[in-house]
């Protein structure tokens, strides 16, 4: 299959790639850029484990063809910690015991970041609705909701 050029900025780094048109953003980021923090849990956009932030919006990257993201600015979980310091959400997830198996966590943290970027002081209900597309099977969401609320309270 012919490959087409793809320009992406991922976690601040520019990439020039050639990809087959059927490949998803998730596949390209995981297999070509070797950033494996985003996970495939379903491949159909139902679980949110592959969530990335593309031009400021939360997307399920398993449903986005890589070429559709041409020219986009992509943030994956690997781009969240800066200079060896965890993002307040990452720290809050640890401190509140919100992490168990961890498979949903990269997507969950990015979903939470999108929420806090738009709504810095969400209610519990707003938090629950913001992560409704991110399934977690381990935690029952209790500590995840607490962690997001705590991160929202922290001065950045």
């Amino acid at each position: 299959m012919p490959k087409l050029p793809l320009r992406l900025r991922v976690n601040g780094e520019p990439y020039e790639l050639e990809v087959e048109p059927h490949r998803t953003l998730l596949e390209v980021v995981r297999d070509d850029l070797h950033l494996t923090g985003a996970k495939e849990g379903c491949g159909t956009g139902d679980c949110g484990a592959c969530s990335m932030i593309v031009d400021g919006r939360l997307v399920t990257s398993c449903l986005l063809l890589a070429l559709e993201a041409n020219g986009a600015d992509v943030l994956t979980i690997e781009g969240l910690a800066r200079d060896g310091k965890l993002h307040p959400l990452q720290q809050a997830f640890l401190d509140h015991g919100a992490v168990q198996c961890g498979f949903c966590i990269p997507g969950m943290i990015l979903a939470a970041k999108c929420l806090l970027d738009l709504n810095p002081h969400p209610s519990e209900e707003e938090i629950r609705h913001a992560i409704v597309g991110n399934l977690c099977r381990c935690t029952g969401y209790v500590k995840i909701v607490q962690a997001i609320a705590a991160a929202a309270e922290r001065p950045d």
């Binding site: 494996t36 159909t44 979980i77 168990q100």
Partner: protein, 764 residues
């Protein structure tokens, strides 16, 4: 209670940083040089004979390395092939469930593999299929498959230590894989003595573990050295190693299993596709990777069994249970594997009952074979018995929680099978829920708001706990920090608890301890991380190893300081003389004098190895407040309290996490989850859109009440934690729904349709 410095305190997960930064390696993240990709062709029929299987066109496709069928695979022990799903690597001749792998493509990339699947030609001859377990029990039922001669239960025993041998079916060919019967007293007399006799049938569907990470394995066979390395998402790497070695006649020294971080297991990730991957790697002599798609995982992995319970019970006016008669039928799917015995034991194991008769059947059908899922077979049995207790209490006008307290088992009471309980905390859990705000305020509830009705329900349940030997090593590093090496795959935060245990015994901060799960080539043995036994067994081994290391540290310090060992104590990384604290030596210095060039003392290596023989049953009691919309049939859980006896909460943060997560899985079972099959045995909802896991917006905050009734053998009195919290949830919800709308739903999940039918608002 003793004062502890490290255990009993909320402690952040030791492996957490990698998980929040995306650096943790899960199996699907593994990439080896020259690695090939595997895709499976799964049969579409519930029961069929393979008439023709032609792989020529698929094999000729560019990028395809091999197209493999059963004929290409090594012959395995035929008894096991028939009775153990794992040994049936690819269907040979007969397909016994829709979704059974028939052929495997090994290709350079997943796209080529996928394309090749479409080029494999298969002709099937459909055979009569049986899909319903009650139909399968009938004498004139078609046989789900060729009769079994033997049943292999080695994996099941890793979850539940059961001292009952199931009787395997003999004589005439039937669909019954095993059956058992427990009796005590005289049930007819017990029913005659009762003031109330209730008879009901309860149904629970097949449900999936719903781990977010699908099954994944990378197998790498090096033909020159004869070494097989398997990277895999498993809860039991030693079990995988032992089985692979046995199946392919490899010495265990040549099989290395690297159990990577698991993206959820819940019993479902033990040993399933690893053997097929190993067989493919042996064939192509290159690394191969298999990652199931979500629909393959839902269709072809090992969910929890469907079950049907017929209960007849008697109770006196004062709430005393007089008789329990039950028949439990578990649908094992196309291979044996339903944990029917433990389901039957706990069905009659929560409440004292002088007269009981429990009959259990494990039945084969043409559905996917089942496996373990958090407290295997028990949440369904508990839905039945704890709905039944509620019905009896309400019909007699008694408080349902008080009726449970009146009948609750305690130390010395026998289980079905007559094994007596050790000290347990069922009553304490009931009392904690009785004293909770949710339960105490139930009479003041606003019960009606327009078409919506509210109600509160309670239920109890438990898990007996698994047992398996375990070992651990604790080493003093050159800088005075401590390394702990175990072989248990951490699925629940056990490595964090092990760090706390080592820190406690060695008087160090937890941050000075590193816990490593080694692979099977380097780690000391551990059993499978299942059955709520990892902390209970491996934790004991870690404690013993840390105690051993402390003895060595004190011995060396005694020689160095010239102080009798009895006068020494450990404190914050220092050994000092009690009466002369100035006589002291730091762990760092001790490490140096036990590791440096020409050092006079041997290195500190503590060894812990234990054989666990006593179970420590754990109980959970839960109360739900629900709101039922009588127009739409929708049930919402508004408030929830979950109490659990954990013996001793080594890490309260992890314990709460288990209680909250287990409870929400139980809410899923109670309200949403069901694998739906059509009349030809095809799964109708193989996606996470249609197989509905609870989302954050579906569930309320879960209030956890930790109860601590210490176990005899567990570290600091700890018991298993993982299983109990999922057990009573669906019953608690059904009981709350009854409290809200006055009708009894006897089949889960409690969908809007079932509510509206029960209210007479929907008719056939």
């Amino acid at each position: 209670m003793a004062e502890y410095r490290a255990v009993g305190r909320p402690t952040v997960r030791v492996e957490g940083v990698g998980k929040v930064t995306g650096r943790t390696t899960y199996t699907a993240d593994v990439h080896l040089p020259g690695m090939l990709h595997v895709k499976l062709l799964c049969g579409p029929h519930a029961h069929a004979r393979i008439r023709r299987l032609d792989t020529t066109r698929a094999a000729a496709l560019d990028g395809v390395e091999a197209v493999v069928t059963a004929a290409d695979l090594p012959a395995l022990d035929p008894k096991k092939v028939a009775s153990n799903r794992v040994y049936s690597l690819l269907a040979a001749g007969e397909v016994v469930f829709a979704g059974q792998p028939v052929a495997a493509v090994v290709a350079r990339d997943p796209t080529a593999a996928e394309e090749a699947l479409g080029l494999i030609e298969v002709e099937y001859e459909e055979l009569p299929a049986v899909l319903d377990p009650l139909e399968a029990l009938k004498e004139d039922s078609p046989l789900a498959r060729s009769p079994l001669s033997d049943v292999d239960r080695s994996e099941l025993r890793g979850h539940a230590t059961v001292d009952v041998e199931e009787k395997e079916a003999e004589g005439r060919a039937t669909n019954i894989a095993s059956q058992l019967r427990f009796t005590r007293g005289d049930v007819e007399q017990g029913l005659a003595e009762a003031d109330l006799v209730v008879e009901r049938t309860y149904r629970t569907p097949m449900v999936h573990q719903g781990y977010i990470e699908p099954h994944a394995t990378v197998a790498d066979y090096d033909a020159t050295s004869g070494e097989m390395t398997i990277y895999t998402a498993t809860q039991g790497q030693f079990f995988v190693r032992d089985e692979i070695a046995r199946m392919f006649r490899l010495p265990e020294t040549k099989v290395r299993v690297v159990g990577l971080e698991l993206g959820g297991g819940f019993g479902g990730k033990m040993f399933l596709f690893q053997a097929l991957c190993a067989a493919l790697a042996l064939l192509v002599k290159k690394p191969v990777k298999l990652v199931l798609s979500r629909s393959e995982d839902l269709t072809s992995a090992t969910p929890a069994p469907q079950a049907v319970f017929d209960l007849k019970t008697g109770m006196k006016r004062d709430g005393t249970l007089t008789a329990l008669q039950a028949r439990a039928v578990y649908d094992s799917g196309a291979f044996p594997g339903a944990a029917m015995a433990i389901g039957c034991i706990l069905l009659g194991g929560y409440y004292r009952c002088p007269n009981l008769e429990i009959e259990g059947f494990e039945v084969l059908t043409n559905k996917v074979s089942v496996g373990a899922y958090r407290a295997p077979a028990v949440p369904s049995a508990t839905f039945a018995i704890d709905s039944q207790m509620d019905i009896m209490a309400r019909e007699l006008g008694l408080d349902p929680l008080e009726v449970r307290l009146r009948n609750a088992v305690q130390e010395g009471d026998p289980l079905p099978g007559e094994m007596p309980y050790p000290r347990i905390g069922l009553r304490e859990c009931l009392e904690r829920v009785r004293d909770s705000d949710l339960w105490r305020q139930r009479h003041r509830l606003e019960r009606e708001a327009g078409p919506r009705r509210r109600g509160v329900g309670v239920a109890a349940g438990g898990w007996l706990g698994g047992l398996q030997p375990a070992a651990a090593t604790v080493m003093l590093n050159g800088d005075g920090t401590v390394g702990v090496l175990v072989g248990a795959n951490d699925i629940t935060g056990t490595n964090t608890s092990f760090a706390q245990i080592a820190a406690e015994e060695l008087c160090l901060p937890v941050s000075q301890v590193q816990v490593i799960t080694g692979d099977t080539r380097i780690a000391p043995f551990a059993g499978i991380s299942a059955g709520s036994k990892t902390l209970y067994t491996v934790g004991r081994a870690v404690k013993a190893a840390a105690e051993d290391a402390r003895r060595q540290i004190l011995d060396t310090a005694a020689q160095r300081l010239e102080v009798p060992v009895e006068e020494l104590e450990c404190a914050d990384g220092v050994v000092r003389a009690r009466s002369h604290p100035e006589k002291s030596i730091t762990f760092g210095r001790l490490a140096h004098i036990t590791t440096a060039f020409g050092a006079a003392y041997p290195p500190v290596v503590g060894r812990g190895a234990i054989a666990a023989r006593k179970q420590a049953p754990g109980f959970s009691v839960q109360a739900a407040e629900v709101e039922v919309d009588t127009e739409t049939g929708r049930v919402r859980v508004l408030r929830y309290v979950t109490a659990q006896d954990v013996g001793f909460a080594v890490n309260p943060l992890s314990v709460e996490g288990q209680m909250e997560g287990g409870t929400v899985q139980g809410i899923g079972m109670g309200l949403y989850e069901e694998m739906v099959y059509d009349d030809r045995g095809r799964l109708l909802n193989p996606s996470l859109l249609d197989y509905r896991l609870p989302t954050a917006a579906d569930v309320p905050n879960i209030e956890s009440l930790i109860v601590e009734v210490p176990s005899e053998d567990g570290p600091y009195g700890a018991k298993g934690v993982g299983e109990p919290p999922v057990v009573p949830t669906s019953a608690a919800i059904a009981n709350a729904v009854h409290d809200a709308i006055g009708v009894r739903i006897t089949e889960i999940p409690i969908t809007p349709e079932r509510i509206l039918r029960a209210l007479g608002k929907v008719k056939d």
